[in-house]
Symmetry: C2
DNA sequence: CAACTATATGACTATTTACTCATATAGTAA
DNA sequence: TTACTATATGAGTAAATAGTCATATAGTTG
């Protein structure tokens, strides 16, 4: 792969990663793990203002991470490409590994 | 898991994800995939100013994604928890899936 | 020692992000 | 029709982020 091509890939990867690089948006991903939900229920789960949640959701749709459909008054959001969920397993692995290192350090004192 | 515990996890996950949610930092991770490198070589690879690269590297160390050691004049950086690299496979999967959908759309026109 | 190299950081600016409040819009129901 | 519900969005603010340039610091080499 050439330098320019690589940079294109890095940019697109960053777009997607940025779309989930926020506690509230991670909470959304976690909540949508089991299927689509409306904004009001998402807002309850993440415990934030409806307008704020709506903006975060729009951002995630723009990045291609979520998709939405209208059903009556409600708008239902769901994860567009569920393989992204594996990413969170990896991150959890990182946290677990680091926690274990910390534990070893603690034990050593 | 309780609400409060969940939010702690989301916050820590976000810290780590944010640390790689930037094209330059993704380039760094890609470059360090095969082992530790000094700042000057990283800067060449990512094609950015030394001072800027240094700041990005510090940020990644602070988030626990990289670690560094000094060797003579140079400071060598490496990936602290290589399991984070799997995350990029997942993201690439997402991009590939989305590209295939686009292709199907194109073909249908 | 002086000159040099590699890295980090202070100070600054520009941009982006997150959030809030108020309001607009679209659909529902009486 | 009016009242209501769910969502999106304009306008504004505060804070965080990314970048630059100049300079400080630490180690190396002659």
């Amino acid at each position: 792969m050439k330098t320019q091509e690589r940079q294109l890939v890095y940019a697109r990867q960053a777009e997607i990663i940025k779309a989930v690089a926020h506690p509230l948006r991670i909470a959304v991903m976690d909540f949508l793990r089991n299927g689509e939900q409306c904004v009001c229920d998402i807002a309850k789960y993440v415990d934030s203002e409806q307008s704020n949640v709506s903006r975060h959701l729009s951002l995630m749709v723009a990045a291609g991470v979520l998709e939405s459909r209208k059903q009556g008054l409600k708008v239902l959001y769901k994860i567009k490409t569920p393989c992204i969920l594996k990413c969170f397993h990896c991150i959890t692995d990182v946290i677990r590994t680091q926690a274990q290192e910390n534990q070893q350090l603690l034990d050593a004192i």
